[in-house]
């Protein structure tokens, strides 16, 4: 057994366990330990850039594969975890609660996501997915004194359990139809067998529903606004970045391994319908929101719609566009949550009034909010604009073969325009409204400042010079 293939995951788990033990032995130095864990995650990330990985290595009877696609996303997820850990250290309610458990749980969730990027077997996928979901049950309700956080945790728990049930039920049908749960075998097993293909379609639809919970895809999207609003801001940031990226990586892996039902090869009608519904739900639902964290829940749904559109459109360019979109989305969404981590009130919620006059109270935060919101809305020259553009290009390319995609591209543009309205409304509060008299200047902790600089640099870099990432994304596909 070549366990060095698993070295990144092992390093992260060891880091988490050491963090837990250190927190239990030196309860007076928890802040130091928490920062140490964030730096440890960064060290693993930097070290992984210099490691030479074996190409196309498989472990556990083919259930775990390590290819360039998996490695790149393991690094992306580690980066997201490091940023979130830095945020968690600056978050006032979490600091008050003390302990290193939050940081350790974030790292354990990261290990689960990193395993997900390599999953090549439905059972492995299910176990890794549950590792992520169960840690998030705790992370979302970590501030157990806040009724909102408990509500968020409960809602996530109930829907998470439901979606896990859907998935397990679907897996039984998948196994019944294909006689194997390994992604590599399924395509061949279904060849020319109409009955098995029908059963498989049903099973796969259930699996997709279970996965849709992670993605905030339309039939399973209902939790997103409530949980984003109630969860501790760093947990919500990780939910929006890491958890969503891991979900889409799994979906891409299912596409690459030809695991999608044969009936969808000609025209993925279900996926197209889900993409359109998710886009519109996210765009329309956000219009009436006054709480910024809640708004980000709807924004997350709308972005999931765009990503689903890219996957439905398919083709090499479509998949590369999805990879590009995921990376730029990470910077934008973490930047917004970083601003909210500092600005949010004692109850850890942020209605529009908390942002009023932000440009006077802290120019850095206001600038970061401006860039991040414009990137989410898709305004050039930021990463978000190109992400949306690439997905639309892929859709139009597909539409030449299949005209139904023109309609989808139209829906996507309408959705993006509607979403622009609510992103800009947040910015109006931060830049145009006068600050309340009582509001003092905000001092930004250095950890948050580091996060903001990294995110702003990422958004601008990806918006101005997208070629390196796009080339990397294309190389990931082969």
């Amino acid at each position: 057994m070549a366990f060095y293939v698993l070295q990144m995951e092992i390093a992260v788990v060891v880091l988490a366990v050491l963090g837990l033990l250190a927190g239990a032995f030196w309860p007076k130095h928890t802040s130091l330990i928490r920062r140490g864990l964030a730096e440890g995650a960064l060290v693993v990330l930097v070290a992984s850039l210099f490691l030479v990985f074996p190409q196309h290595h498989a472990l556990f009877g083919g259930a775990y594969v390590l290819d360039r696609f998996a490695i790149v996303f393991k690094q992306v997820l580690l980066g997201a975890a490091a940023l979130v850990l830095l945020l968690a250290d600056a978050h006032e309610p979490l600091r008050k609660q003390g302990g290193t458990e939050f940081a350790a749980l974030v790292l354990l969730a990261t290990a689960g996501m990193m395993l997900l990027t390599s999953a090549n077997d439905f059972i492995f996928l299910f176990v890794a997915l549950e590792l992520v979901t169960i840690t998030f049950y705790v992370l979302n309700s970590f501030l157990r004194g806040e009724s909102r956080a408990l509500e968020a945790g409960l809602k996530y728990l109930v829907l998470g359990a439901l979606s896990a049930g859907f998935m397990a039920y679907g897996l039984a049908y998948v196994f019944g139809a294909a006689d194997s749960l390994n992604f590599g075998d399924i395509h061949h097993a279904l060849h020319d067998d109409k009955t098995a293909q029908g059963i498989y379609l049903f099973g796969f639809a259930l699996v997709l529903l279970g996965l849709g919970f992670k993605l905030a895809m339309v039939p399973m999207q209902i939790w997103a606004p409530d949980v984003y609003q109630g969860a501790p801001t760093p947990a919500a940031a990780f939910l929006a970045s890491g958890s969503k990226i891991a979900g889409f990586v799994v979906l891409l892996r299912l596409v690459f391994a030809d695991v999608f039902p044969p009936a969808w090869e000609a025209q993925p009608v279900v996926l197209m319908a889900l993409a359109a519904l998710t886009l519109l739900y996210g765009a329309l639902g956000g219009l009436a929101q006054t709480d910024v964290k809640r708004l980000l829940g709807y924004s997350s749904i709308a972005n999931a719609g765009f990503l689903l559109l890219g996957i439905a459109a398919g083709g090499d360019f479509g998949h590369a566009a999805v990879i590009y979109y995921l990376v730029q989305y990470l910077f934008a969404v973490i930047a917004v949550f970083a601003v909210l981590t500092v600005v949010a009130n004692a109850h850890d919620t942020a209605d529009r009034h908390t942002l009023m006059g932000l440009h006077r109270r802290s120019p850095l935060l206001a600038l970061a909010l401006l860039l991040a919101m414009l990137s989410l809305a898709g305004v050039p020259p930021l990463g978000g604009a190109l992400g949306k553009f690439f997905v639309l290009v892929a859709t139009v390319m597909r539409a030449r073969i299949d005209p139904a995609f023109y309609a989808l591209a139209g829906v996507a543009i309408v959705g993006a325009v509607i979403a622009l309205f609510y992103y800009l409304r947040v910015l109006r509060g931060a830049w145009a409204d006068p600050a309340p008299d009582a509001a003092a200047r905000i001092t930004v902790p250095w950890t948050v400042r580091v996060v903001l600089y990294i995110c702003m640099a990422g958004m601008l870099f990806l918006g101005i010079w997208p070629q390196p990432l796009l080339a990397l994304a294309t190389r990931c596909l082969h």
Binding site: M1, V17, L20, L21, A24, F25
Partner: protein
């Protein structure tokens, strides 16, 4: 051949289901129709109708601290299940690599697994989950004269 012969098992099963449902309906409804009316008063409704009057409520109360103990017990108990699979195959696994086993690696994986468990145990211990009362809430002992 009787025309219903193929269906005989289904008929028997259906008759049993009907009989079972019918019996339970009868058992629930008839006593309340035919039986004597209940009388309600404080003595009649007490847990022990004759004997000393009850001084406390019937549901026994126990400390909420039990839930941590119960949770830890289940956690560490479940881990044994993983070791059983390893233990059953131990004789095969411990053979040298040439003979179809894993050699020392077979032992090493279980030791690593147990070390992770032990880390959890130490964590629970240090963070006070095994103490009945936390150190801070314990009454300070009076210095002896």
């Amino acid at each position: 051949m009787h025309p219903l012969e193929h269906f005989w098992p289904f008929i028997a099963f259906g008759a049993m289901v009907v009989a079972a449902i019918g019996f339970s309906i009868i058992a629930v409804t008839f006593p309340s129709i035919l039986g004597p009316r209940k009388t309600h008063n404080e003595i009649k409704d007490s847990a022990y109708e004759c004997g000393l009057p009850a001084t406390t409520g019937t549901p026994a109360r126990f400390s909420v601290k039990f839930y941590v103990v119960a949770m830890l017990f289940i956690l560490f108990d479940i881990e044994v299940v993983f070791l059983i699979a390893w233990g059953v195959l131990y004789r095969k696994l411990i053979k040298p690599e040439g003979a179809g086993g894993l050699g020392w690696a077979a032992l090493a994986v279980a030791v690593i697994f147990l070390l992770i468990l032990e880390a959890g145990h130490i964590y629970a211990w240090r963070s006070g989950a095994l103490d009945w009362a936390s150190w801070r809430s314990r009454p300070q002992q009076e210095p002896r004269a």
